[in-house]
Amino acid sequence: MTLLITLITGVMLLAAIAVVVLRGLLAAVAALAAVSLALSVLFVLLRAPDVALAEAAVGAGLSGVLLALTLRRVGLWPGGPAREDEQ
């Protein structure tokens, strides 16, 4: 149990460092979602399934999508549509 918690915390730490270090903004968003996903697994292990569900749905799902969409909207996502039409 302690080993598992240490392992998941390690994954979270690595993913969190990746958020800061990664050059691609979309990759950083994905790493941020990975932090939330590992955190939700940790919540399950600590017997807090309610919080785990909320963390997985909001932290790993919605906030990641929201950040990625914001990247596309401000034109920082290379694959996104060109935004010249708004000027």
Binding site: V20, L53, A54, L69, P81
Partner: protein, 232 residues
């Protein structure tokens, strides 16, 4: 190499913060609640509200007014985002459809996500989860098709109607509860049989309202951010 300097400074700061937090954690026992009120609530909640899920009993039974405040904060945030983003962009309509895999999976996933979200909302008083978590899944169910084909219209009008009626329903349930008792949002309808779908009085109704409200709010918010064309 200015960027690397910033990264190094950020990492240094975060490491220091982490060491400080670890130093504080060393003084606290792990997994033990420092307060006594939790044990009292865990002991009293099933008898008081009839809900199997104690988190729900606390969120809607003991702290219903706090939940109303939480829902209000979410409403204000979504309304502000809608004000800033609404009507400004028509760029989403120009975006081409997603690839074949996302496009077919989105419509395949839709009914399953819908059922899962509805299950989590309706069983909020029995199993882990509830209006907020289920609402987020419902929002995802309605948003994934928008992601797959950005040109498809998202009906903001219906979403706002559902959101408004669900929010009003939450407050109406609270007002109706004033008839039989002297406190806002007191659970009524009786406790019912513990573990049954129709139990725990009005708590499942409150969670249904929260689920619809959160779902329509988040789906509308994401559709706005993605710049989907506003449907009539």
């Amino acid at each position: 190499m200015k960027g690397y300097g910033h990264t190094a400074a950020t990492l240094l700061f975060l490491t220091g913060l982490g060491i400080l937090l670890i130093a504080i954690l060393q003084a606290l026992p792990f997994g033990l609640a420092p307060m006594q009120v939790g044990q009292a609530i865990v002991a009293a909640a099933p008898g008081d509200t009839g809900a199997d899920n104690i988190v729900t009993a606390i969120l809607l039974g003991y702290r219903g007014l706090d939940t109303l405040g939480e829902v209000t904060i979410l409403f204000v945030a979504a309304a502000a985002a809608g004000m800033v983003l609404g009507g400004a962009s028509r760029g989403g309509a120009q975006a081409e459809n997603a690839g074949f895999i996302l496009h077919s999976a989105a419509y395949l996933l839709f009914p399953f996500l819908l059922v899962l979200g509805a299950y989590i909302v309706l069983h909020g008083h029995l199993t882990p989860g509830g209006g907020f978590q289920g609402g987020a899944i419902l929002a995802a169910a309605f948003f994934v098709p928008v992601l797959a084909s950005p040109a498809s219209p998202f009906n903001h009008r219906t979403a706002m109607l559902v959101e408004g009626f669900a929010g009003a329903a939450f407050i109406m349930i609270g007002l109706v509860s004033l008839v039989g008792s002297d406190a806002f949002l007191t659970p009524f309808f009786g406790k019912g049989e513990a573990g049954a779908l129709f139990s725990a009085g009005s708590l499942p109704l409150l969670y249904l309202a929260i689920g619809l409200k959160v779902g329509s709010e988040l789906a509308g918010l994401m559709a706005r951010v993605s710049g989907a064309e506003a449907g009539a």
